[in-house]
Amino acid sequence: MDLSNLNAVERAQMEQLIEQKQMKDFLRMYAGLVDRCFNDCVNDFTSSKLTSKEETCVTRCTDKFLKHSERVGQRFAEQNAQLQQGGQGR
């Protein structure tokens, strides 16, 4: 993101916008993660509480996804930086 062609007021507005979007994105990720781990881990409805096996699965699923997302973020930043550099020359 290059905000250098925005003036101070715009930049403040943009920062506020980014904050709002981050919040929204966080909630979206939370909902998505619940859905993913529920679907992958919980298939037995003979009890109304999570079994210990399901609970372990949910924990692993959550940990794994967060680590996955973090790693993608790192690679994404690298690729994006590369792209920006390449685009600058033209």
Binding site: M1, N5, K21, K64, F65, K67, Q79, Q84, G87
Partner: protein
């Protein structure tokens, strides 16, 4: 890729105020969307469901790195074709 990360050379900053902001917002939206699609797709392709533990395995990690790289490449290829430019070569 200019459609993705392009920024116009805006001279008349004051007049273009809302335009600049709109451009920055759609750029942010596009990047966020791309990121979210990559997270979703590469998770589906690299992390199989019965979870043995909460760590990423070596194989999964390598898969993720390659997946992100290939997704970007594919993104550029398709983008190049769609805009008819030289980026699709």
């Amino acid at each position: 890729m200019s459609f993705l990360f392009g920024r116009g050379g805006a001279q008349q900053q004051q007049q273009q105020s809302s335009l600049n902001l709109t451009a920055a917002e759609s750029e942010l939206d596009m990047i966020t969307d791309l990121f979210n699609r990559i997270v979703e797709t590469c998770y589906r392709k690299c992390i199989p469901a019965p979870y043995q533990d909460g760590e990423l395995t070596k194989g999964e990690s390598v898969c993720i790195d390659r997946c992100v790289s290939k997704y970007f490449e594919t993104n550029a290829k398709v983008g190049g074709k769609m805009s008819g430019g030289a980026a699709g070569r």
